[in-house]
Structures are given as structure tokens and as C-alpha cells.
């Protein structure tokens, strides 16, 4: 069954058609990738799924429910977590707090209990901390839990951002260029990490990526877009040999 269903999605910025008639049917448990040259509209699609932007036309449903028109936090509550192309952590927050804040499902004490150290709050806070430390352990940051997020090196910040997304306990994870700025060695470890969390948390993943070894190595299916239009879709093997894709990427001239 499709966990995410996107039909005829369109987004205009003034006169620019950033996304045009985008369709996607993402089955549960799969990893699919959206690729395309810079400015093709990939991140815009993510922003439309998470409702940071409102679509000009079209519809998105998640697990059978229409999500267009909701607030971004409601979409996150329903189980869509994401990371950002230019990492968005909470810089002046400890690493532990970055995770703890995202564990919204694990604590439900009220505003009133926020003012007093009542038993339910104390108990839930303790559970939150244990759970968050478990997640930090998974990404190898447990020993630095009290450090500020801004002091982490770049690669660790990426991992922390993914861990924070996992803290939401999502069904669908949107990764926006997770391997950006990584060397081949780090990229390799990232790929293993993504496969590992997919298994462990039973995730469906939608990926934007420029590193072709990541895209080819991880995804079951690839959608290629250029200037907002879908120019190809298929398995990694089919996409690799598609002349339209090669043209979009290498910019084969008119004469060719």
C-alpha cells in the first residue's frame, strides 16, 4: 500500500513554475530517490510535503489521509520527519536537548505541570532522557550529550539531525542531501547507517541526493526531475542509461 501519494503537484513562485505535475506513489518500506540538477525543484517538493509551502495545485496524502492545508507541525505529528539541505539544528542547545525536544510522543504532561516538579513530569522527563540517550548511542554521540550542538563537526551534525528526525518516531523519513559535503569514506558509512536505521525503525525513506553512489546503492526507485518537470522514472539501472537523464546532467548541446 502506498504510504505517500502525490498527485499532480504544482507550485508557482510568481511566474516561475518550480514544480509541475509531479506524481509519486511511495510504497511502505521502500527507499526512493528524487534526483535532478541544482534548482530542479527537489527541495521544493520536500517543502510541499511538509507543508512549509502550500501547493498551487495538486494533492498529497499520507497513509490515506489528505495532508495538504495542514500546518507543518501537524504533518510532523502524523509521522513525517525530515532533515534539511543546510543543516538546521538548534545550535545553542545541548546535543541531548536537540533530541529530547523532538521526542514529542514520549511525554504528554501539561503546561501546568511545567511549572512544578510533579511526579508525572519527573517520571516522564526521566524516560525522555533515557530514550534520547539510546538514540544518541545509535549515532555515536552519547559521550558528547552535554555539548552544544553548534560545537559539533559537520559530519556529526548531519548524524545528529537524522537522530533528531528519528526521535519523532516517524513512518516516513525525508532526507535532503544527507551526504552533501562528505568524503567517500564518510559517504560509505552514511549509507550503512541509513540502511541500518531503515531496518531498525521500519522506515520508508524519500531521498534527495547528488552523490550517485548513494542514490544507486540505496534506492529501489528513482524519479528524475529537471526544471520542475519529471523527465524519467525507474529503477537505478533504467535511470542510469536513460539519455534524457544524461542530457539533463551533462547538458549535452543542441548539436548532439
Amino acid at each position: 500500500m502506498a504510504i505517500l501519494e502525490i498527485t499532480n503537484l504544482n507550485k508557482m513562485f510568481g511566474g516561475v513554475q518550480a514544480v509541475s505535475d509531479f506524481n509519486l506513489s511511495l510504497d511502505e518500506g521502500r527507499i526512493e530517490a528524487i534526483i535532478g540538477p541544482n534548482g530542479a525543484g527537489k527541495t521544493t517538493i520536500f517543502n510541499l510535503i511538509t507543508n512549509i509551502y502550500k501547493p498551487t495545485k495538486g494533492e498529497i496524502s499520507f497513509r490515506g489521509k489528505r495532508i495538504t492545508g495542514l500546518q507543518p507541525y501537524q504533518v510532523a505529528q502524523m509521522g513525517i520527519a525530515r532533515t534539511f539541505q543546510n543543516i538546521r539544528l538548534f545550535p545553542e542547545f545541548s546535543i541531548l536537548d536537540n533530541i529530547r525536544t523532538a521526542c514529542h510522543q514520549r511525554a504528554n504532561y501539561m503546561i501546568f505541570e511545567g511549572l512544578f516538579p510533579l511526579p508525572r513530569r519527573v517520571r516522564q522527563e526521566k524516560e525522555l532522557e533515557e530514550h534520547s540517550m539510546g538514540l544518541l548511542d545509535l549515532v555515536g554521540l552519547a559521550d558528547r550529550a552535554q555539548e552544544m550542538a553548534k560545537n559539533l563537526p559537520y559530519g556529526h551534525q548531519r548524524r545528529l539531525e537524522i537522530a533528531r528526525a528519528l526521535a519523532l518516531e516517524p513512518k516516513l523519513l525525508l532526507l535532503d542531501e544527507p551526504a552533501a559535503g562528505m568524503n567517500p569514506d564518510e559517504t560509505q558509512r552514511l549509507m550503512e547507517f541509513i540502511s541500518q536505521i531503515k531496518q531498525k525503525f521500519n522506515l520508508t525513506i524519500l531521498l534527495i541526493e547528488h552523490h550517485m553512489e548513494v542514490v544507486m546503492g540505496l534506492s529501489d526507485f528513482i524519479v528524475v526531475i529537471d526544471f520542475g518537470k519529471t523527465i524519467a522514472r525507474g529503477t537505478p539501472e533504467e535511470t542510469q542509461s536513460n539519455p534524457l537523464v544524461i542530457k539533463a546532467y551533462l547538458g549535452v548541446g543542441e548539436e548532439a
Binding site: L89, F90, G114, L128
Partner: protein
């Protein structure tokens, strides 16, 4: 204790309560509020008029002043909290000026710019000090709760906060209401300490003074806000001997802090048992005992 010192203590508490609200709203939630005096004016006039004209007991009047401050925040926050950074600051500034002008022009009710004289005064300072400390404790609890963390997340990155399921508007609204309540209470206390209120007490200089305290103490620390309220309220009094120069010194101290410690006096440091322990071991690491058992500075 001499009445003069009692007065400084009460004024410190009055400022502190207001700064506490502002610390939550501006320091922790990241909405820069430049109209704190407007909320104080509402609290001061509501509470002051209740005790003076209707002889309502002081605690009830103070409570009503606080509630009035909180209630005003709801319709005001609804459109303004959606504004970004500077625009929100300007909107609150405009609100505070509007409140002041409304009070000035409602002469029949508020006495206009001549103000309301001989409000019953109250200076039981131990009660005020204990009450203030309780409020500090409550806000400390709040900022370290999951709700407080959501507020900080909004300050740090609003889009990321939404992406991890924080209802950003709701949390900004709650901080705004808490701030309104505290400012209203602070205004009511001020009215019943001074015994006289007039609109010019609640102008831009008052708002500025309070926001300076929050920045001075450290935007991200409740302890810093408390410390700043104490230092910056008593500093002009301590410097009274320097006559006109005291305000220059006050200004210079603020400038120096901003130049050398832009994150504020305490930054993100909070007073707690564990932070004191950490501080102690940090200081201890600078010393060592030499072979004769004498304490030496490790250079």
C-alpha cells in the same frame, strides 16, 4: 531595616518580576518584546483603581492586574506573534505607546496625564521577596520542562521546531501570556509601592530599561535575568553620590558588557546544585597542592 533599603528591595522585586516574563518571552522564546511597560501600565491601573476607588483587598487587586495583563496578551498576540523578529518588536512598541496614550486621554477614568494619587501603599517587603522567589522558581521549572524546551527550539530555529512537531504559534502565545501576567503583576506592585501612578511612568524608557536587563544578564539564563534586575536596579542607587554621573556609569556598564560579553553576564549558565559543583571543580582544576601541601595556582 531602613525604609530606604526596603524601598530598593521592593523596586528590585518589581523589576525582577517584569524581567522574568521578558526573559521567558524574549530570552527563551526569541520574540523580542519592546512594549513591556504597556503591560505594566495595564496591571498598575487595574490594580491601583480597584484598591483606591472600590477598596478591594490588595491581593485580589494584584491578581486582577496580573490577569488583565495576561488577557490583553491574547488578542494582541494573535496577529502580532506571526510577525518575524523586528516587526514583532515594533508592534509591541506601538502597543505600549497606544496604551499610554489611551490612559492619558481617558481623563474621567484614569485622571489623564495627572495620574492617580494616593493609592493605598504597601511595603511588607519579606512577603514580596518570598513571592518573587517563588515566581523565579516556577519560571525556572517551566524553562527546563518539555514546554520550555519547545520555546527554546522556536528561538533557535522556527522551521526546524515545526519540523519536529512543535506548535510554534501556540508556544509563542503561551510565553506571551505568561509575560503579560508577570508584567501586570509587576505593574500592580509598583502602583502600591509608590502610591501614585501616571502614564509617563510607563513610557519607552521603562520598556528599554527592562529589555536591557534581560540582555545584560544573559538572554538564555533565568539566573542572569535575576542578577541583572538586582544589579541594574540597585546600581543607580549605589551611585547616588555621583549625582548626574550615575546614569553615565550605568550606560557605560551596559556598553562594556555588550562589547566584552555579548551573550550577557551569565550567557546560558543557570544556578543549580549541579552547575555549582561543576563550577567548583573547574576552579579547583586551576589549583594544585605542592609538596609542602600549600595551595598553588596552576599557570
Amino acid at each position: 531595616m531602613p525604609v530606604y533599603y526596603q524601598g530598593i528591595i521592593i523596586l528590585t522585586c518589581v523589576n525582577l518580576i517584569s524581567v522574568l516574563g521578558l526573559s521567558l518571552l524574549t530570552g527563551f522564546t526569541g520574540s523580542f518584546c519592546f512594549g513591556q511597560a504597556g503591560f505594566m501600565a495595564i496591571g498598575a491601573y487595574v490594580a491601583g483603581m480597584m484598591t483606591k476607588f472600590w477598596h478591594i483587598p490588595l491581593p485580589v487587586a494584584l491578581l486582577c492586574g496580573a490577569v488583565a495583563g495576561g488577557l490583553v496578551s491574547i488578542p494582541l498576540g494573535y496577529p502580532t506573534l506571526r510577525l518575524k523578529g523586528d516587526y514583532f518588536a515594533i508592534a509591541t512598541l506601538g502597543f505600549a505607546e497606544a496604551v499610554r496614550l489611551v490612559i492619558e486621554n481617558l481623563e474621567k477614568i484614569t485622571g489623564g496625564s495627572r495620574g492617580i494619587p494616593s493609592i493605598p501603599t504597601y511595603n511588607n517587603y519579606p512577603v514580596i521577596v518570598v513571592g518573587t522567589l517563588v515566581l523565579v522558581w516556577l519560571i525556572r521549572n517551566y524553562v527546563s520542562s518539555r514546554h520550555g524546551r519547545n520555546c527554546v527550539a522556536i528561538r533557535e530555529d522556527e522551521i526546524a521546531a515545526q519540523a519536529i512537531a512543535v506548535n510554534t504559534f501556540r508556544y509563542k502565545q503561551i510565553s506571551f501570556i505568561f509575560n503579560g501576567i508577570l508584567a501586570g503583576l509587576s505593574g500592580g506592585l509598583l502602583a502600591h509601592y509608590v502610591g501614585f501612578i501616571q502614564p509617563s511612568m510607563f513610557g519607552i524608557p521603562k520598556s528599554t530599561e527592562l529589555i536591557v536587563m534581560v540582555i545584560f544578564g544573559g538572554m538564555h539564563s533565568v539566573t542572569g535575568a535575576v542578577l541583572a534586575a538586582i544589579v541594574l536596579t540597585s546600581l543607580p542607587e549605589l551611585l547616588r553620590a555621583a549625582a548626574a554621573w550615575r546614569l553615565v556609569v550605568y550606560g557605560a556598564v551596559v556598553v562594556l558588557i555588550m562589547v566584552f560579553r555579548p551573550e550577557g553576564l551569565l550567557g546560558t549558565w543557570e544556578l543549580s546544585i549541579s552547575s555549582l559543583r561543576a563550577l567548583r571543580s573547574q576552579i579547583a582544576s586551576h589549583f594544585y597542592k605542592n609538596e609542602r601541601g600549600m595551595l598553588r595556582w596552576r599557570s
